[in-house]
Symmetry: C2
Subunit: 531 residues, 2 copies
């Protein structure tokens, strides 16, 4: 049986490996036919050498060339959209039309084009110039970036197509993509499109490389290698923390997006004002994509009240009535069941679901659990277990004081939402809640579920540990996401013609925002006349 | 004998400790009389609780209030300058007038005032607003910051007065200062000034706290505590990496400034053009402050040539003729001797010095070592040992190719300098050298020694590991240095009156630069008219 090739140094080639694996069709629960390799260290070594050669080449290129590559790649993805959607649907069971074709694929090409625009425009570097001191600085690429993609977004967070990929490339770094084992064929197809785009636009071989899997020990060696600029990882907390330990010990930057339960606080006035619509919003958000979003609302915090009781009834009805969609893999279902059981052991009661669902494939019943506030306080680490999938925990606090205590126990999260009465009836409670929640989440929402992550320069898809590895960085939204893959480079008394174009006196694009002597401007620097 | 008090929760109080220590007068080599405490964990715990209470208070304050504190503190330092200089000179033996009074103290008050100005003006937050998406984000304070100061700048990098302190405070965070054991009385005196400024300007108790020393195990526990926002450390590599390991394992941000040898490359044309002046510049830079600068030129890279031989003779003369000043401590002298011996074991020859100097106090002869390029390539880790103090290693490469290979072996450094012929005779060599050096240093200099670190928004006092812990951050230069102590906070659909003032439609100061829909501006946002 043919083992699928990997992409190294611009060539599709046989992996150096003894092991293989297959992905599964989650809707049927059956293995797919293609065999993919688990690479040995030898493949990682080849990738590192080639990526560093490519980095030398990329550094000589104007950013506009890299922008052309990203745009060409977006066009290649669009040209191949039917087959990409077919493969991704087969490997993830995510809805082909409503999710993959109409939402995730356009988001992916949109991200690539937005990153291209940032690369071309140049403001992402935050060029900072002190003319009197002769100092000029800004961000420049760091070196090859290894991207570990998650299972839940085969395109938009994919290791060779997603936000981390686009940000790393746009900042001028080659990418070594480590595919997610759930959707290797999709990733392979994307890599073929990326490779075509590299050839068409003349990128150095090794700009984009693909491995499907490695042994854990080799992954840890890879992220710690001094030839690697940085790593971006999205996935489970346990695997992410192993990589973090390896990278940290070697002093290599690593950006992690780990688990998050994304607390949603529903205040009494809001529930009195619009119970049905909030129940709809919550149920839709929690079950969207079978709940497999980093920003899934996995915890709802309520005050004990008649409105809350009504709300809980409404969402129970909706969770029972909603169809049960497949999960991404057998492992996701196994973890979901184990995590729901962990909540139960810690004192939560199952209101709806809580067991694997019938039918073909990897399904778990839509699940709602409930726990009282005091129990949460007693068992707050265990009751913050993420139930990745179509499940959420309702936490009912006896009063505001208890609710505030619960908030103070929360770990770092990507998001935190507060629903309040539109006329202001909940404002006093909001004022006490917001400061506590604010420090614990990367994005604070009002009257909105967290699952929509707009691709915007003002987005923060990040948050305090353990939601991510560092609270100052976002994984979504250029230009900020690009600066993760960059170093601050200062030029002191460097002769004008030796400066990079973005720090020379003329504005290189006419469009680059630069902070010159404390003022943000797109103007050129006019050197003082010399006599 | 009285044990000096520590500053906790706005009160000077007795430390919980069983151990004490004394600082020494490095010029005489004798212990000073005051006894200082080594704190137990109990003091750290008190500091953490008080700092978090203070943080709640600071979050309610307008940034202008924090700016007033920083400015008041600068004025308090100036009012007490005579005694501060006397104490610092007694504890460090750094020149009282030419260094401490005329350079370092004004630098320190200048940093505090620059940080105050940034806090007041608000642009440090990089406010980013997407009006169409309803998303607004920027940097906000992270929580209490623990600052470990180094031995070599009692004021300007001092734990309770230096750049890290100013940046952390200006970003809105309380500081727990861990004094350097070399100059506890100076730090105490600064803490008294800070405490007066806190009282005068109404800062919450616990905004500024001081411990002198802790056990290593307690320091590691402190930087890993979830109640701490972040840590800033400047000092030896070994101690810094121990703290880093503890902080990393707990997911707490830590910013490190560790060792750096700051390579200086002298090209033949420059040495032909101006040998005497370069020899003067190098000798002055290397012996300034007895060579105890983070940016001391600890390695000079030359091509084997008559010009280089002449230059080496010139610097040997200068090193022999220059007075031998005291080092900061006995430990610094012990390390310097050990590190020079490590260079010798790795193949370096001593040209000048290499032994402890006579006279009172902790002195080591001004030292120049030399090694051939091939030996450096064979022993490149050992020959990059930092010789903190009045010593430098001359590396003589046989040709340009060997010089480039040497550059490729260099670890991350704070700075890298290249001297070249002003008429362009060295330009071909420069073009090959600069790209390799650029990736390995935070600041690239032309025709300038690295010891001057201007306080400027365009400065980068940082660099790739192991010079620091992360290549994207600078320890000198506001506003960038402030963002180390901040988290990215996004507001999604948050009601206008609930936004922090710096994200509301009107520009809160009229001076805050904000990136609104892709344009940097100081304008207000004019909401669209509603019908």
């Amino acid at each position: 049986m043919v083992v699928q090739p990997i992409l190294l140094r611009g060539q599709w080639q046989k992996a150096q490996t003894l092991q293989t694996f297959r992905a599964a069709d989650p809707a049927r629960g059956e293995l797919l036919p293609e065999l993919f390799p688990v690479s040995s260290w030898s493949d990682c070594e080849t990738a590192l050498v080639a990526a560093n050669e490519a980095f030398q080449g990329l550094q000589q290129m104007p950013s506009a060339r890299i922008a052309e590559f990203l745009e060409r790649y977006a066009a290649e993805i669009e040209a191949d959209r039917k087959e990409l959607v077919r493969l991704a649907h087969a490997e993830t069971a995510l809805p082909a039309a409503t999710r993959l074709a109409r939402v995730e694929l356009p988001r992916t090409t949109g991200q690539l084009r937005a990153a291209a625009e940032c690369a071309r425009e140049g403001s992402w570097r935050l060029p900072t110039i002190d003319t009197a001191a002769g100092l000029r600085s800004g961000f420049q690429p760091l070196g090859p970036v290894c991207v570990f993609g998650p299972n839940n977004f085969p395109f938009a967070f994919g290791s060779i197509s997603g936000g981390d990929f686009a940000a790393a490339l746009a900042a001028g770094n080659p990418v070594i993509a480590k595919a997610n084992g759930c959707h290797p064929a999709t990733t392979q197809r994307l890599a073929e499109a990326a490779d075509r785009a590299c050839r068409t636009t003349g990128m150095p071989p090794g700009t984009v490389q693909l491995l499907y899997r490695t042994r854990h020990v080799d992954g840890q060696r890879l992220v710690a290698d001094p030839r690697l600029g940085a790593t971006a990882y999205t996935g489970s907390r346990a695997a992410g923390l192993r990589l973090k330990a390896a990278a940290d010990a070697a002093g290599r930057p690593i950006y992690l997006e780990l688990s998050s339960i994304n607390p949603v606080i529903l205040l009494p006035g809001a529930l009195r004002e619009r119970p049905e619509s909030i129940a709809d919003e919550f149920s839709t958000s929690c079950l969207l994509g079978t709940g497999q979003f980093c920003t899934n609302p996995g915890m709802v915090l309520l005050l004990d009240s008649p409105q809350s009781a009504t709300f809980i009834d409404l969402v129970c009805q909706r969770f029972r009535a909603a169809p049960v969609e497949p999960l991404l893999s057998k492992a996701v279902r196994t973890s979901l069941q184990a995590n729901v059981q962990a909540l139960q052991r810690a004192g939560a009661r199952v209101l709806v679901g809580g067991v694997p669902a019938g039918g073909a494939g990897f399904r778990f019943a839509n699940t709602l659990c409930r726990v009282e506030g005091q129990t949460f306080l007693d068992e707050s680490p265990a009751l913050q277990t993420e139930t990745f999938g179509n499940a959420s925990l309702l936490v009912v606090a006896s009063d505001l004081e208890q609710l505030l205590s619960i908030l103070q126990r929360l770990e770092g999260n990507l998001t935190g939402s507060v629903y309040s009465d539109t006329a202001g009836a909940d404002d006093a409670e909001y004022e006490q809640i917001a400061p506590i929640l604010r420090q614990r989440v990367g994005r604070l929402l009002n009257d909105k579920m967290p699952t929509g992550v707009a691709v915007s320069p003002a987005m923060n898809h990040g948050g305090p540990y353990p939601a991510t590895g560092h609270p100052g960085f976002t994984a979504v939204g250029v230009p900020a996401a690009m600066r993760r893959f960059a170093m601050l480079a200062c030029y002191d008394n460097v002769r004008q013609h030796r400066l990079p174009d973005w720090l020379q006196d003329p504005n290189p694009t006419g469009q680059t925002w630069r902070c010159i002597d404390g003022h943000w401007t797109r103007d050129d620097i006019i050197p003082p006349e010399t006599d």
